[in-house]
């Protein structure tokens, strides 16, 4: 696993999120103010990696709990409790400063099974004699509000695409793989700033290859993520009730927009009956309206958005039949494939618009059809010359259907 092989050993190897790094270092060095820190932000941007790297640097021993453990108050205190008080003992017995308690993905603890988890963590933070670090994906901090009062908040953002590309390049170089820049860019773009998934995708794409070309990305396998989303989508679409679908959506770690686009892509595969499809799409369209209303601020509306998503996937549970999911979201790739054509079209329309005193849009709708018809009929037409179109642009118009 390249994600293991290239796991950052020290802080400098973690790409991006400079502010968060500084903030975390300060907190750990001085442990000023609050006893615990909450690192929150999207998956795969280096939250856990930073904790491990820093602990190593400052010689803390990390005691970790993550989402796979059940977190009722009892177990949390049972497992984690002792280490907070035994800290001083460890300090003598080993060559470390002591323990550091890491609760990974604390936003996963609000299901029925984890009842009381937040209260337990709060209690623990208050009692703890060693630093406690929490990580969370959910930007909806409402749920974590009780923790907010006792923890120092550190925000992580998606890693910028160029940084991800640079990292992928480094890995390719190290692995002796020649990769086209655009190929890496697509992988990075598709990861949406999730470094871990980008590395995973790179690895599965490079399997048995020395050269990675842009064409290879067409069947982007997305092993790890695909598996995950595959499960989630199966749960959502095969759900017999909307409640069930909603639970599956909330359990998943995928971001809202990926969900929206993926359900959008897969709806026609799920509903072959036009009546069902139109009902489902109408609901999805309303979900999209709520996404628009939420923007980056009104997270309180999120529950309506999720609810509508769940409704749209369970319009007719009785007709469900397994199908092959479409993933990753088509549009992200489509925008990439067609980038050059789009730019060419814009350039042509801009030239027409300038000459005929119209907008690019009018140039496309009002002039392009006629110009196309003329140059198709009259190969030697001098119109392109008058518009200042070069050969490539003229050929492009001729090839339009």
């Amino acid at each position: 696993m390249w994600t293991e092989k290239y796991r950052p050993e020290d802080v400098a190897q973690i790409v991006g999120n400079e502010e968060a790094k500084v903030s975390f270092t300060r907190w750990l060095e001085r442990k000023q103010g609050r006893k615990a820190a909450l690192l929150y932000g999207p998956a795969g941007v280096g939250k856990t990696a930073l904790v491990h790297a820093m602990s190593k640097k400052f010689q803390y021993e990390v005691i970790e709990m993550n989402a796979s453990d059940t977190r009722t108050e009892k177990t949390i205190l049972k497992i984690a409790g002792p280490s907070t008080t035994l800290a001083s003992l460890e300090k003598f017995s080993r060559n470390t400063k002591g323990s550091l308690l890491l609760f990974d993905e604390v936003d996963g603890i609000f299901g029925k099974e984890d009842r009381g988890g937040v209260a337990a963590i709060t209690k623990l933070v208050e009692q703890s004699q060693v630093p406690v670090v929490l990580t969370a994906n959910d930007p909806d901090l409402q749920k974590l509000r009780p923790l907010k009062k006792v923890v120092h908040l550190i925000r992580f953002r998606r890693v910028r695409i160029p940084l991800v590309v640079a990292l992928l390049q480094k890995i390719c170089k190290n692995e002796g793989i020649v990769a086209e820049h655009e190929a890496l860019e697509i992988i990075a773009q598709n990861s949406q700033g999730d470094v871990r998934s980008a590395i995973n995708d790179l690895q599965s794409l490079c399997k048995g290859k020395q050269v990675l070309k842009t064409e290879d990305i067409v069947q982007l396998p997305m092993r790890n993520r695909a598996l995950d989303i595959h499960d989630t989508l199966t749960q959502i679409f095969s759900a017999r009730t909307t409640t069930e679908a909603l639970a599956a959506i909330k359990r998943s770690s995928f971001d809202y927009d990926t969900f929206l686009l993926t359900i959008h892509d897969n709806l026609p595969l799920r509903y072959s009956n036009p009546d069902e499809l139109s009902v489902a799409y109408d609901i999805l369209s309303k979900a999209d309206v709520f996404r628009g209303r939420i923007r980056q601020e009104n997270w309180g509306l999120l529950s309506y958005f999720f609810g509508l998503l769940a409704w749209s996937s369970t319009v007719a549970p009785e007709t469900y039949q397994p199908f092959d999911f479409m993933y990753p979201p088509k549009r992200i790739l489509a925008m990439f494939w067609t980038k050059n054509k789009r730019i060419l079209m814009q350039t042509i329309c801009a030239k027409i618009g300038k000459k005929c005193h119209v907008s690019k849009k009018s140039a496309y709708f009002e002039f392009m059809p006629f110009i196309k018809a003329i140059v198709k009929k009259e190969g030697k037409s001098r119109l392109p010359l008058w518009f200042g179109l070069d050969k490539k642009e003229t050929d492009y118009i001729k090839a339009l259907d």
Partner: protein, 335 residues
């Protein structure tokens, strides 16, 4: 036979250069000429009207006649649909409105022609309003729009508003015939009628169609058949085909075409919906009641796009509605 008639767009070749050449719009031209005689009395202008009714032509004539030979230097032509943000107003317009006229004492002011300004955001319009106030002694605005109702009140009240009505069929016919004569083109029986029918009072579209017909006709003759052939050739095949596919229940292919329109042609959801709306009236298989129902479907999703986050989802939802509708009504002929 060698064809020399396609070295430039006729819409430009035959665009009137002075207000006197503008054949119709008599009332508007008369008032504008009064301004030309006494440039300092000219207020900011707001031209409203449908496409192809002469708004841009008249604006260019005014600039040319007011500013003389170097009119291009002192005229800024912008299209709000191409750059609709507030930055355009802040940077380009503001700068140009203060443009120094230097030694050109004969130039009364600079002119800014702002086309499709009903596409501007409200905040950009507000910013524009300020500039119109502060720059009135150095600059005149000619604002062009389809619907003056989309222009904020304060701007409307600062402008003399001229409404350009759709040209009469006879006027367009006369115009087409005069061009045909100059291009040595014979418009045979039914050709002019067919062009008028298609162009719906849009003179620019009529001229573009005429020019294309000239290329498709033989020996300088254009008959009705030629016109219909060209109309088939220039109809936005993509949009129409998408519409028919959706109505035939072929949702997945229709959605595929929609993706192409967005990604390759760079069109927005609203652009596509408006185009579908136009195409709708050309489908002969549907009854008026059906068209009314489809129209309300299109309108509904156009409205949702305003608030929604993803155009392609709203468009897909609309296509799904059309598929359902098509299923209920039985199949259409795929073209």
């Amino acid at each position: 036979m060698e064809k020399t008639n396609d070295s430039l767009m006729w819409a430009e070749k035959y665009r009137p250069q002075t207000l006197d050449e503008v054949a119709n719009l008599k009332d508007i031209i008369d008032s504008l000429k009064a301004f030309l005689r006494n440039p300092n009395t000219m207020p900011h202008l707001l031209f409203a009207g449908m496409p192809g009714t002469g708004k841009t032509t008249v604006s260019l004539c005014i600039a040319r006649q007011l500013l003389g030979p170097s009119w291009k230097t002192f005229t800024l032509e912008l299209n709000a649909s191409d750059e609709r943000g507030i930055d355009m107003v802040r940077d380009r317009i503001k700068q140009f409105s203060r443009y120094s006229r230097g030694a050109f004492a004969s130039i009364p002011y600079v002119i800014i022609i702002l086309d499709e300004c009903d596409q501007m955001t409200a905040s950009a319009q507000t910013a524009l309003r300020r500039i119109m106030e502060t720059s009135s002694h150095t600059c005149r605005f000619i604002l062009i729009c389809n619907y003056s109702s989309k222009i904020i009140e304060p701007i409307q009240s600062r402008c003399a508003i001229f409404r350009f009505s759709v040209s009469q069929k006879e006027e367009i016919a006369r115009y087409l015939e005069s061009i045909a004569k100059k291009e040595h083109l014979n418009l045979l029986h039914g050709a002019t009628e067919a062009i008028l029918d298609y162009s719906q009072g849009d003179l620019r579209r009529a001229i573009n169609l005429l020019q294309t017909c000239a290329v498709y006709g033989s020996k300088g003759n254009v008959d009705e058949k030629t016109v219909l052939q060209v109309i088939g050739e220039v109809s936005p095949a993509q949009v129409q085909l998408m519409l028919v596919k959706a109505l035939n229940g072929n949702f997945i292919e229709a959605r595929e075409m929609m993706y192409n329109l967005i990604t390759i042609y760079g069109l927005s959801g609203s652009d596509i919906l408006r185009q579908i709306h136009k195409e709708l009236f050309k489908i002969s298989h549907l009854s008026d009641a059906d068209k009314a129902e489809i129209e309300s479907i299109i309108g509904e999703y156009d409205f949702r796009i305003l608030e929604g986050a993803n155009d392609d989802i709203q468009l897909s939802a609309m296509l799904a509605q059309l598929s359902r509708f098509g299923k209920a009504k039985g199949k259409l002929n795929e073209q």
